[in-house]
Every structure is written in C-alpha cells, then in structure tokens.
Amino acid sequence: SQELEQSPQSLIVQEGKNLTINCTSSKTLYGLYWYKQKYGEGLIFLMMLQKGGEEKSHEKITAKLDEKKQQSSLHITASQPSHAGIYLCGADLSGGYQKVTFGTGTKLQVIP
C-alpha cells in the first residue's frame, strides 16, 4: 500500500479554471514537499510546508498543510497551459529529514 496517497491521479481542466490536488497520509508529515515534473524532465521544487496549518503561495499556486499534519492540498488558481505536468507530493514520514517518500503523482492537462 502507498504511504502517501495523491488524488486525483489525473485531471483535465479548461484554461482559466481552478483546481485542487490532494496528498494524504496516515502518518505525520514532518516535512511536506510539492514538486512539478514536465514530461521527460526532472522534478522542479515548488514549495515546502512544515507546520500544521501552514500555507504558502508561489504565483498562482497555493499549498496548505492541515492542522494535524496528515494532509496537504495544492490549489492552482486560473490555470494556464504552463501549469500542465505531473505534480508530486513528497514527505518525510520519520522525522529524521534524511529521506523523502513520494506520492504516485497527479497528471494535469490544461486545455486552451
């Protein structure tokens, strides 16, 4: 079973629409990372959350970590074709900050 569940697995939205991707764990998320991957390329860091209730924004992307530190959401406002790609959440599930467990990813397509 996957320790870090992402939903949905894939998403097709029309340009300009808002969308949300979720990342859930049964364990405490000591550090939660969001990455974006374009097809055939490496991962690009978006943001990191550590504290329960924390929220960060970068351009039109906002990520939140819930108070219990077991779920994070990534919200994109007014989506653009440049937002298309695979979004992965990763988390330190042990508190040692040595390794990160990744979710299965969410594939986002934005239709002009």
Binding site: Q2, L4, Q6, Q9, G31, Y33, Y35, G40, E41, G42, L43, I44, F45, M48, Q50, L88, G90, D92, Y97, Q98, K99, V100, T101, F102, G103, T104, G105
Partner: protein
C-alpha cells in the same frame, strides 16, 4: 554551476548485462539519492547516501548497488540487468544547510532492458 547531472541520458541493455549510472553534483551537497520512476508508482527510493563513503538502502534496493567514493559523485550499478529494471532513474542531492530543505533533481536516465 550545472546542478545535478546524470550520465547517460538513455540506455538500452540486454538481460544479464551490467551498467553503471553516474550522478554528479557541484553544489557541495551532503545527501544524494537514487530513485526510479515507473507509471502509476511515483518515485521510489533505491539507495541514498548521507555523506562521502556512506550508503543506505531505500525502498527498492534489490538488484542495485551504489558507491559514494567522492562527495560530488553517486554511482548506481546494475550487475545483471532484468526487464523489471526498465524505468526512468533520477538522481537528487540535498545540502545539510537547511536540513529540511528541498532536493535538487537531475534530468533522468531512461533505461530499457530487453
């Protein structure tokens, strides 16, 4: 400043052949990682290193070996390749400064084992 580089970018092997993937980083990072990415499975950690001369097993270490003889390089070896090792392999590094910080990823190596 190249960041994290991986060699080669593509490779096709026959079952039973061996090969080594090279990862190099020029950021003086302590931590280095090897992942594999398969459809529907996300990224899975193969092996990692917390410093020069150290290695540790990750989630899926079987069939792979690693070495970190120099701080800037992390090698992933396949001694006897199997079709199940067909995958995209990513290397990543992370510094100690801001120990809870991001990992920097290489562009990936696409490996096919026939």
């Amino acid at each position: 400043n190249a960041g994290v580089t991986q060699t080669p970018k593509f490779r096709v092997l026959k079952t039973g052949q061996s090969m080594t993937l090279l990862c190099a980083q020029d950021m003086n990072h302590e931590y280095m990682y090897w992942y594999r990415q398969d459809p529907g499975m996300g990224l899975r950690l193969i092996h990692y290193s917390v410093g020069e001369g150290t290695t540790a097993k990750g989630e899926v270490p079987d069939g792979y070996n690693v070495s970190r003889l120099k701080k800037q390089n992390f090698l992933l070896g396949l001694e006897s390749a199997a079709p199940s090792q067909t995958s995209v392999y990513f290397c990543a590094s992370r510094g100690l400064a801001g120990t809870k910080g991001e990992q920097f990823f290489g562009p990936g190596t696409r490996l096919t084992v026939l």
